[in-house]
Every structure is written in C-alpha cells, then in structure tokens.
C-alpha cells in the first residue's frame, strides 16, 4: 500500500516536472528571442527530426533509429508522372544553384569544376552504377530526403524543405545517372 503511494506520488511529480518548461529551456528561448523575431521564428520551428538530432548531438540512440527512418521515408513525395529520372540539363542548374541544390558546397561533380567541397563523397562518374530501377529509386530518395537513410547526416533534406520539387529531384537524378550528363563524361 505504502509502496503504491510512493510510486503514484513519484509519477505525479515526474509528470509535473515534465510538463514544465525547464529553466534551461526557458533561458534558451529567451536568448533566441533576443536574437530577433526572424531568427527566433526559424530556430523555434524545428521539426521533430531536427529536434531529435539536436537533442542527441546527431547520434541517435539505436532504439530510435528504425522509427526515425520510417518517419523520414514517409516524407518523400514523387513526381506526378512517376518518372524518377528527368532532364539532366535542368538537373545541372539545380545542382549548381546556391539557392537550390548548392551541391558543389560539399561534392565534386563535373570534373572541370575545381571549386568543390570535400565534406561529401565525390559524385564524378556517379553514373557508373548504371540506371537499374533500384539505383534510380535509391538516388531519388537519397536526394529528396537524406535522413531516410542516414539519420542526422550533414546532407540536408532538400526535397522535404522544398529547395527543389519532386520533378527537379528527378532532374538531379538524371544529372547524376544519365550517360550523356557531363558528370559521367571524360
């Protein structure tokens, strides 16, 4: 009887504790607001994935990973016409545009472009993988939402955030896989 009371009491206290904004969280939010309206608006509108990655310092506990991957996978949208490989010429524009793909920030691409970043793997000759249905689908989904494969990776979820549309994602896929694309030509 006494033990039950202690358990119930603890649970009530725990519940109260969890329902309050912690002093640290309150301090953080005050600092974000001090940074101004626009800054606070973006920093305080993290989605669930961003919040989890921040909380776990980009290393999710193993038990959270399957659920996380499934939720990210569910965010992927596909072109209305169902074609996952589009126009490589437009794909190159999206790939290069700093406001859209901005892919050269981290990846090597066309061999003649020397101002590329090294945080991601080189994509030069990415097309050597061929254009099987599995390769095309993986490439599409990885570009649209990288976190559906590697939780909290550096690669941002360009499709999820609307940096490029499903059709433009298909164009990016073509830029990487089309044998005619300069990324696959010597």
């Amino acid at each position: 009887m006494k033990r039950t009371a202690i358990v119930v009491g603890s649970l009530v206290l725990l519940g109260l504790g969890l329902s309050q904004v912690s002093p640290f969280r309150a301090r953080l939010e005050a600092a974000l607001h001090a940074g101004g309206h626009e800054f606070a608006r973006v920093m305080l509108s993290q989605d669930k994935g961003q919040a989890l990655c921040s909380q776990h310092r980009d290393k999710l506990p193993a038990d959270l990973i399957p659920g996380f991957l499934a939720e990210q996978k569910a965010l992927i949208k596909y072109p209305a016409n169902g074609k996952l490989m589009g126009d490589w010429k437009n794909g190159e524009k999206v790939f290069t545009d700093p406001k859209r793909g901005n892919c050269y920030a981290c990846h090597a691409g066309v061999a003649s472009e020397v101002a590329y970043g090294t945080m991601g793997p080189s994509l030069t000759n990415y097309g050597q993988r061929g254009t099987s249905e599995a390769v095309v689908r993986y490439t599409y989904e990885k570009i649209y939402n990288a976190w559906a494969f590697v939780p909290c990776s550096l690669m941002y979820r360009g499709g999820v955030h609307g940096l490029f549309t499903p059709e433009e994602t298909a164009d990016l896929v073509a830029f990487l896989l089309d044998p005619e694309s300069p990324i696959n030509r010597r």
Binding site: A30, A31, A34, G35, F39, C53, Y104, C106, T118
Partner: protein
C-alpha cells in the same frame, strides 16, 4: 589619415581586390585560400605600405578618444581589466561585468559603455563605429593566448547556452554549427577550409576579408555563417553571439590556441 585620403585609398584597395579575385577565379587548379590571403596581404603591404585592417583600428582609436554626450571618452570604461586597460582584454572576453550584470563580448561591451559611460542613446550608436572601436581594442591582444575560462555562474550558464546553440539544427538546410565545424572539421565547403573550436576556430577576428572588401568582427562572422545556412541572422549584441563566442573561445582555450595578428587579413 584624413577621411578623403582614406576614401581614395579604399577605392584603390577595392580595385586591387577585383583584379586579385579575377586572377583567383581564373586559375585552373584551386588555390589554397590561406596562401592566396597571404599573397594578397603582401601585395597590399608592398603597394600601400599599410593593411586595410590597420585603417579600421586607426579610425577606432579616434572614436575611442572622442567625448560622448556625457563628456567622457571610452577611457572611462572597464573592458575587463579595469578602467583604461586595453592590453590583453580581448583575450579574456566574453566575461561577466557586475555593472551591467551581464556576460558581454567586446562588441557588446563597447555598445554598453557608449550608453552607460558616454551617454549615447542606442539609436545614435552606429554599427561601423562599434566595429572600428572593437578592432582598435582587439589590436591590443594581437597574437595573445586565448584565456576564456567560464567561472562565474552567469559565465557557465552562457557557455552551456552556447553549446546548445552550437548543436541546434534548424532552418531549410537542416544545419547546425556542429555538423560542419566538429564532424567535418579539416574538410572544405567549396574552397573554404572549415575548422573546429579545438583547432582554434574564432581566433582570427576582427579581420579584413579581401574577397568581401569588408571588416568582419566575430559577430559579423557568426551572422555570415547563419545566413549561409538559411537561418536569418541574429541581431547584434544578443546573447546568441555572446554565448556562441563564449563556447568557441572556451574550447579554443582548452586546446591552447592564441589569436592571430589582429586585425587579421583573410580571404
């Protein structure tokens, strides 16, 4: 230097920068950005006999000794080692100041003292003036060992806040400071090398960036980072800048780093 002379000088500098950047982007192989910065620095020294950063420090010196509405100059401000002491103060900031009851970085401290000591209203304080004064004061910590060790409870709270901001992933590019500046330190974003606090990140500001033809303080540099990851830049002198600076420089302190020649000359 008289203002007119300085304008002519800055015009020539801008021209030199354009020529330099033109040559820089037409190379076949990517240049090492630090080597390129050193080459540009040498060119400025040989052509003009002075570095652009020194002009900002010179302007800051004039403003430092300018009397405010209260009749006082910034000599009456305590920047961390007592009134009138400038030697080495930049190397120990941010720190807690009992008079303002706040942890402040150098830029915020200048902003505070221009109000509380000199009697300026916030709206009267020009950002460019704060930058110049900050550059002048920071020049007294050129090559100094970084000594940011949070001890006061407010300093510790600021450090923890900075660490939380460091790891916060937000915005349309899912970025945080940590995801590049910890995990991928040593790699490049396009041609820019990325460092971690443990590698001394933050030890080069205030600096003149020849690619932008502008002086950047630490707060300017933090804003530039936020903008490049699709997060609107925070307002100057906010706890966001102070907390992140506290975190980065405390980590750089643990790793035993020193400041560069200040104001630095960089890409």
């Amino acid at each position: 230097m008289k203002r007119r002379n300085r304008l002519v000088f800055l015009g020539l500098l801008a021209l030199g920068t354009l020529v330099g950047v033109g040559a820089y982007t037409q190379q076949q192989k990517p240049l090492d950005p630090f080597e390129e910065a050193m080459r540009q620095r040498q060119m400025y020294l040989e052509t003009f006999g002075v570095l652009p950063g020194e002009l900002f420090a010179e302007e800051g010196k004039e403003l430092f000794f300018r009397k405010g509405p209260s009749g006082k100059t910034l000599e009456e401000c305590d920047f961390g080692k007592g009134k009138g002491v400038l030697e080495g103060v930049y190397a120990i900031l941010p720190k807690y100041f009992p008079d303002s009851k706040r942890v402040e970085d150098l830029e915020t401290r200048v902003y505070t003292c221009m109000q509380t000591v000199q009697g300026y209203k916030p709206a009267e304080i020009k950002r460019d003036e704060v930058k110049a004064i900050t550059t002048y004061i920071a020049s007294f910590s050129s090559k100094a060992k970084i000594q940011v060790v949070p001890k006061h409870p407010q300093e510790l709270a600021m450090y923890n806040l900075g660490r939380e901001l460091w790891y916060t992933r937000a915005g349309a590019r899912d970025m945080s400071c940590a995801i590049c500046h910890d995990q991928y330190a040593g790699q490049r974003v396009r041609l820019s090398p990325v460092r971690s606090p443990k590698q001394g990140l933050g030890n080069e500001w205030p600096a003149y960036r020849f690619e932008e033809d502008k002086l950047y303080t630490m707060e300017d540099r933090i804003n530039f980072c936020y903008e490049s990851i699709a997060i609107p830049k925070p307002e100057f002198y906010s706890d966001v800048h102070i907390a992140l600076t506290m975190y980065m420089l405390a980590e750089a302190t643990k790793a035993g780093h020193s400041f560069e020649e200040l104001p630095f000359f960089t890409r």
